[in-house]
């Protein structure tokens, strides 16, 4: 690949690919700031022509977006916090708990990974109804406070933890809690960060389950809310597009900030 012609061809090809990849977002962004009509139905839609905040104002008027973003934020914090807590404790117990058959417990956890959420929604939905939690935020995150995937990732990392440090900590009189929070977690921070980030993004992006267990606009999470906004804003297309932009800002920031950990989470276990 030293010939300049080949170099330029490769560069041009990659540039086109990159443009195609970002096209949907650019299209939505330009539409959300274009004075009405947001979408003109001409090739001018590819470029930013004009500027207005009107569609954003309209989006906020049509749907309780801020309330829904708050709901999603609560779900993210509760779901991620509880999931990371239960996973850390479970992985700690499996690795350092002196069980006779830790593999058996781990195996039982891993079996649940093979059962897709989509196959259990009916059962979970009926449970939530019976518990009287339908249309509440608690219902949205409750099934996800434990995760076999997070336990597995943490367990793999804890297994590689040097036993010398564990022994030294014990000799120094560190109890299990102190060892866990002062030694183990700080030293395995990359994995803990990965698990936290993957869990947080999944929580923010959840769609099917929140769609099933919430009903009123003020109880919806933002993903379900923005779909409803898009459906209802039929004649006010710009408002729907503006809603998409608002909803995407948190995850775009998260992905930019955490891309290193994200890439790790994806390739973990796939590429040795």
């Amino acid at each position: 690949m030293k010939k300049p012609v080949a170099h330029i061809a490769l560069f041009a090809y990659l540039a086109v690919v990159a443009l195609v990849i970002i096209l949907p977002l650019v299209y939505v962004l330009f539409g959300s700031i274009r004075p009405t009509p947001a979408i003109t139905g001409t090739l001018w839609d590819l470029l930013p022509t004009g500027f207005t905040w009107d569609h954003f104002a309209s989006a906020f008027n049509r749907a309780p977006i801020l309330r829904q973003m708050l709901n999603s934020a609560i779900v993210v914090v509760a779901q991620t916090g509880l999931q990371v807590l239960t996973s850390v404790l479970a992985a700690y117990a499996i690795v350092f708990g002196n069980f006779r058959r830790p593999g058996l417990i781990l195996g039982a956890y891993l079996v649940t990974m093979m059962i897709p959420n989509e196959a259990t929604v009916v059962a979970n939905y009926l449970t939530i109804r019976q518990l009287g939690l339908f249309d509440t935020i608690v219902a949205v995150f409750m099934p996800f406070v434990a995760s076999a995937y997070s336990i597995f990732l943490l367990r793999q990392t804890f297994l590689g933890f040097p036993t010398e440090i564990k022994e030294a900590a014990t000799v120094d009189g560190a109890g299990p809690m102190r060892f866990l929070f002062r030694f183990l977690l700080p030293l395995t921070r990359p994995t803990v960060m990965t698990v936290t980030l993957v869990s947080a993004i999944a929580a923010w992006n959840g769609y099917l389950w929140p769609l099933l267990v919430t009903e009123s606009p003020t109880a919806r999470t933002v993903q379900v809310g923005v779909k409803a906004l898009f459906d209802e804003a039929d004649t006010d297309f710009g408002a729907g597009l503006a809603g998409l932009i608002v909803v995407s800002i948190p995850t775009i920031i998260l992905v930019i900030v955490g891309q290193k950990f994200l890439a790790r989470g994806l390739t973990e276990g796939a590429v040795k």
């Binding site: 540039a15 690919v17 299209y27 989509e118 196959a119 729907g240 998409l244 909803v247 995407s248 390739t267």
Partner: protein
């Protein structure tokens, strides 16, 4: 294996009635066929697009680093947002896709309204949302290939295409297998994209198994029995694929 009354309360044990009803329902078999078509199209699209991006980027030509970042963009938006963005692009007549089709001398395609195209449209969106995942995985595999292999090939005078098909692809088959199996599972589970884009329509042409599960229980009929019977089929399909996944991974470990 229970029936439900009008209010969705379990109504007693009915043996295999729900399954018998499902298997004798031609619509169920059509759904299953659409599910398989969606899975095959989506996986093939992801592998081809993933390679078409990862192979050139892995060449590490100066200045191509910025393109590595662009594949992260689909990961930064939720599936629901991606689906809705494409719904805007695929809007009949005024959406950009139809605008471009007309500019190229074609006709409005009916991306989401034609029963012939709708499945392809949801596959396109599914492929787009997975670009980050597939390209990152394939890049990691390509980057880990020993550079000496290529130097030897260069000495032998192997050209790019021959090098790709005879050396590169065989060396990353474990990762390709992994992508195929995980993405097959993912395609079987895909709900958001189809719900947002077509809700299973037009005329049920994009009604996959998961959409069927949803519609049976929550699409007005509250037939939890029929929905659960379909869930069991989904579970069996995914368990089979998972078994294959573990089998393949097990073999890979032995290769090394």
């Amino acid at each position: 294996m229970q029936s439900t009354n009008l209010f969705g309360q379990p109504n007693g044990f009915v043996g295999s009635d729900n399954f018998a009803a499902m298997f004798s329902d031609p619509d169920f078999w059509r759904t299953l066929g659409i599910t398989v078509l969606f899975m095959l199209g989506s996986v093939a699209g992801k592998v081809i697009v993933g390679l078409a991006i990862a192979l050139p980027v892995s060449q590490r030509v100066r200045g191509t680093g910025v393109f590595r970042a662009s594949v992260l963009i689909p990961m930064a938006v939720s599936t629901a947002v991606a689906g809705l963005a494409f719904r805007a692009l695929m809007t009949p007549s005024t959406g950009l896709f139809d605008v471009i089709a007309r500019a190229l001398g074609g006709d409005n395609v009916g991306w989401l309204t034609s029963t012939n195209v709708s499945l392809l449209s949801v596959i396109i969106v599914d492929v787009w949302t997975a670009i980050g995942f597939t390209v990152l995985l394939l890049l990691a595999a390509l980057d880990s290939i020993d550079k000496q292999v290529f130097e030897a090939a260069d000495v032998d005078g192997a050209r790019f295409w021959r090098r790709t098909f005879s050396i590169t692809l065989p060396l990353i088959t474990p990762t390709l297998f992994f992508v195929v199996v995980t993405q097959s599972i993912q395609a079987l589970r895909e709900f958001t994209i189809i719900n947002v884009l077509t809700a299973g329509g037009p005329a049920d042409s994009t009604r996959t198994l998961v959409i069927d599960i949803y519609q049976a229980a929550f699409g007005g009929t509250a037939d939890y029995g029929a929905s659960s019977a379909r869930s069991i089929i989904l579970l069996v399909l995914i368990l089979a694929l998972t078994a294959i996944q573990f089998g393949v991974l097990e073999r890979r470990v032995n290769y090394r």
